[in-house]
Amino acid sequence: MTYLNIFPKFPVSILSVAVLLMACTPEKSAEEKPAETLEPFPSTYQAIPSESFIIEHATVLTGTGKQLEDASVLVEKGKIKVVGQNVFVATDITRYDGNGKWVTPGIIDVHSHLGVYPSPGIESSADGNEMTAPVTAQVWAEHSVWTQDPGMQLALAGGVTTFQVLPGSGNLIGGRGVTLKNVFARSVQGMKFPDAPYSLKMACGENPKRFYGSKGRSPSTRMGNVAGYRAAWIKAQAYREKWDKYYESIGSKKEKDKPKRDLNLETLSEVLRGNILVHNHCYRAEEMLVMIDIAKEFGYKISAFHHAVEAYKVADVLAKENICAAVWADWWGFKHEAFDQVKENAAMVENAKACSIIHSDSAIGIQHLNQEASKAMAAGNKNGLALQPKDAIKWITANPAKAMGIEDKTGTLEESKMADIVIWSHNPFSIYAKAEKVFIDGALMYDRDDRTKQPVSDFDLGITDPEGERL
């Protein structure tokens, strides 16, 4: 496959500017296009071919705020065709009896380090934090992903169909994150969610200042952190302008010399162009509000604050600014910036009509995002709210999809979306609920009742017993 075929699949890149401008010039062959306009690591993900099927008589949480009883989900060609009650299909297709079962969109984790901090946790594969400079926008998490992390299959058994792998939080700007489909592949490109935007990991607070401060360099304080972000964005603005002027000059009499590429600034300028989404690790209320001002100063948008332990203090601002708060249900106290956690955090964010997300940041937690959402919902309800499963399911499906810029493709059970679907044994907010069947793009990727339909990583093979199974 040449990149000519691939090129149109990537509207979200520096191309959006370049293509527009080039449209005015005579057709050029791809070889003549500037190097920075290419997607160097294109997704090669291909949905596993699947047959049509229908899940019938299930309780369906659509992810759009509805709970349907005795409902059906019809899937054709890997896409959701119909969701609703009284769906009759005469043809002879596979039928799954959903009686007593619950059906949800595939679970999405907006904050994972699967593959970059894989299991087993040994120094030789801890590849999530490039802590050699406080701004490393040039690194891409996908280049650290070990596709054979056995945590991925465990997450699948927890219903996770899509996850965003982020660099760690040791740096002010840690690099690009990547959104992956939870499928077996030999390459990370084979897992890359088609047409998902890249993300930029930024980090507030204790982690960057502790690490660099301990090395006797900036940042050693929170004010040093802020100076560091702003200095980076000033450089990115200048870089963007330089390239924009170059693009404008192409074909004209005053065609400028092609600027020198800088991978760090290339990523940052793509954020300024709106093509890369900012995911900002930020615990404390005042730091979130400072980051919002920085985003305004430089004209970019923050997609989500992660680990937003104090989101409940600024939930109204997050609602107004349309920024998601990605939170744990109840983790607290491991750092000072995590000291003000309340169990009602996610519920209070939801109640303020802001976008609430439960994330994992953990290879254990990602297997139980339904449980985490359940605890967060229960805490809100115990204090007087009336949240329902149809609301809280969004925290682990539609809302992370929105924050990751893939809400038009997955995250809800709606017609024409990817058939990323979980059939649960019980109400997914029960401790007794297990994901029984997990579909990705309509293909049955995990079946709890059929060992032949439970994927295992390369790592698992023969690791505890040459002839046996790890699990």
Binding site: S119, P120, G121, I122, P150, G151, L154, E206, R210, Y312, K313, A315, D316, D330, W331, W332, G333, F334, K335, H336, F339, D340, Q341, V342, K343, E344, M348, A352, S362, A363, I364, G365, Q367, H368, Q371, S374, K375, M377, A378, A379, N381, K382, N383, F429, S430, I431, Y432, A433, K434, F459, I463, T464, R470, L471
Partner: protein
């Protein structure tokens, strides 16, 4: 005094109490409660008791039965439609030894003092005014085993048992177990090999036993040619005499078998902690009558010594007859120590009987660590009681009432006060004056 007489009468009748307990009871300021009409998870051989009443007086459970009517003055707690368990206990925490994990000035669970290995005793460092205690308490955790961790010796030292009271009455016992590491952690601290770790443990236990019989030869000032300090070997005496268990953190199957053999050789009471691959040798562990401390939610092959971790490990071990003691959840067993309930729930979801899982966070823990008169809803037990608004293992369930030693606890923590301050976001400037 009237209540005291009444209790004395009960003691005579039931014959359950030791004199030491009577002393602590008379010092309590507990009210009397009649809890009505609950589904009681008793953590006894009686299992679940339907529509049951519990009478609590002077901090103790005095009666458990149907339609109790007690004439004495008491407060009624209507628990119709609700569930009751003993207050839960987490078997491996640093409760009171850490306020903020990454703030070293608030952390007391390990020492770099090389003279303190087995003799490092953490009880004096426990801060009963810690914010962690109310936050865990209002979520149904009423007791905790507090253990040392880290340090420079293969022995981490001696742990304590506490009740989650915000005062010094919370200290229950200050020397209830000795802790050691084997496997990767033990190897790292012993020079880099399990073989070194094994030798260090073996020698220390041998020396401790020798010293126990020859202590008078080693007066202060004499040459001390032992591998451990005098204080450390003296501290191991309680292990050698089987007064307290030796809790060894160990994961790999063959490492577990080595530790079982080591414990047999030195005739000590071994408790396995972590024990990721214990299920693969469940029968051997059951046969040796060795309890296992575990967090049943852990299923990652997180290291090369825990490759066989799995979610049904607790169910397998329980079925084999191993006494299980739960901690969790995950690495947050202190700040979120109450979430041992979630870990237990996962064990049940993956095949362990619910009532056995409840025992693994109540009576089993009490038995392993010698926490007396706690861990069951039964006459003679101290009244650590939680009234839950639903299935005690379910995620949507919360604690409605928490009694510790018969004292009803306020359902308030620093977190609930922050929540209440920010519940609405109007008039932010006035929040300064909300308390």
């Amino acid at each position: 005094m009237k209540a005291g007489k009444k209790l004395a009468a009960k003691i005579l009748r039931t014959g359950l109490f030791s004199s030491a307990i009577i002393l602590t009871t008379f010092a309590s300021n507990a009210e009397d409660y009649l809890i009505k009409n609950a589904t009681v998870h008793s953590a006894t051989e009686k299992g679940v008791l339907a529509k049951t009443d519990i009478y609590v007086s002077d901090g103790f459970i005095m009666e458990v039965g149907n339609n109790l009517s007690v004439k004495l003055k008491h407060t009624i707690i209507d628990a119709t439609g609700k569930h009751i368990t003993p207050g839960l206990i987490n078997a491996a925490t640093q409760m009171g030894l850490v306020e903020i994990g990454a703030a070293s000035s608030t952390v007391d669970y390990s020492t770099k003092n090389e003279n303190q290995g087995a003799s490092f005793t953490i009880a004096p460092a426990i801060n009963f005014r810690s914010t962690l205690i109310p936050q865990n308490r209002i979520n149904g955790l009423t007791r905790a085993i507090v253990r040392p961790a880290g340090g420079t010796s293969i022995f981490q030292g001696q742990g304590a048992a506490i009740a989650l009271l915000s005062n010094e009455n919370g200290l229950l016992s200050s020397l209830n177990a000795q802790y050691a590491s084997y496997g990767i952690a033990g190897a790292n601290i012993s020079g880099g090999s399990r073989a070194s770790a094994y030798a260090v443990l073996d020698k220390a236990l041998e020396e401790a036993n020798y010293l126990r019989h020859n202590r008078s030869r080693y007066l202060p000032g004499f040459d001390w040619n032992f591998s451990q300090s005098v204080e450390d070997l003296d501290a191991l005496k309680a292990v050698i005499e089987k007064k307290i268990p030796l809790v060894i953190s160990v994961h790999r199957r063959d490492d577990i078998l080595k530790m079982i053999a080591l414990a047999k050789k030195h005739n000590v009471r071994l408790v396995l902690a972590g024990a990721s691959e214990a299920w693969t040798v469940a029968d051997e562990i059951a046969r040796a009558n060795i309890p296992v401390i575990m967090d049943p939610i852990l299923n990652l092959p997180g290291s090369f010594e825990s490759l066989a971790n799995r979610l049904d490990a607790a169910a397998i071990l329980n079925a084999a007859g191993v006494k299980l003691v739960f901690t969790g959840v995950n690495w947050r067993s202190t700040h979120n120590g109450y979430l041992v309930r979630q870990s237990a729930g996962n064990a049940v979801s993956y095949g362990m009987p619910a009532e056995e899982a409840i025992k693994a966070m109540t009576i089993n823990t009490a038995e392993v660590f010698g926490v007396e008169n706690y861990g069951q809803i039964a006459v003679g037990m101290e009244a650590d009681i939680v009234v839950w608004d639903g299935d005690p293992l379910e995620l949507s369930t919360s604690a409605d009432v928490v009694l510790i030693k018969g004292i009803k606890q306020p359902m308030v923590s620093r977190a609930t006060r922050l929540r209440d301050r920010y519940w609405d976001l109007k008039d932010i400037q006035k929040k300064a004056f909300t308390r």
